[in-house]
Point group: C2
Chain length 114, copies 2
DNA sequence: AATTATACATAAGAATGTTATGTATGGTTA
DNA sequence: TAACCATACATAACATTCTTATGTATAATT
């Protein structure tokens, strides 16, 4: 686990990236996926995730679809058309940001994904 | 300029990195150096920087030395012995974190600097 | 003379997270 | 079968860390 100040600010972008790739995901699934992909180094807490998802919905970036698994409820989130455009912007901003960080901390910009 | 949520959490580490490289720097100099190195993409505000520097001093990570340039005051900051150890930890954590971000956003871990 | 750059500082408020708590179902194990 | 852990949602109090605004003052440029 990172001393989580570094992770601050990246949550929304991580969610958008996953939704863009997977099409639709539910909250708990997102927490598990991120844990998997990062070898447990990033663990999204529910107290951070759910308010973020609700905010994305309120902004029209995502819409929800509720499914019933047995008697349990699952709330799937997927990008809207506007959300896809937003995600694209945020992801290219993240790519640029990571390049800048590389310059600062490694002295190299790294590969560019035009 | 990045929609600055991404920059959140990186300020302290950026300062430690610069101090480690330069030996000593003063506040205004740090803001200018970061602006230069990042092509204006990251602009540290004074409201964020000075409290951070004061906190680092209170934690014993840095010590200060006041210089007089004409009638103006400059406050130089440099790492303590403990601060150097702390900086080393934070920088390797940042390197690891950037690798994790690359996996999430680019699908590649990037080079490892052992 | 006015403006901009240098150089410090602090305080109110916003944003974004942590930690704690609550509710409930379903599967596994002692 | 009782206890425990995993799944799955949610919210609220609090902490941290930044933005924005403000204040003070000297030095250089237009």
């Amino acid at each position: 686990m990172y001393s989580n100040e570094l992770v601050r600010g990246t949550l929304k972008t991580i969610v958008l990236k996953l939704l863009k790739e997977e099409g639709k995901m539910y909250g708990y699934e997102i927490t598990q996926r991120v844990k998997e992909l990062t070898d447990g180094k990033i663990q999204i807490t529910e107290g951070a995730l759910y308010p973020t998802l609700h905010a994305l919905e309120a902004e029209g970036i995502v819409v929800t679809e509720t499914m019933h698994i047995g008697r349990r409820v699952r709330k799937y989130y997927k990008l809207t058309t506007e959300g896809r455009a937003n995600a694209k912007r945020k992801l290219s901003e993240m790519a640029d940001f990571l390049g800048t960080m590389r310059i600062l901390f490694e002295g190299t910009p790294g590969p560019h994904h035009a």
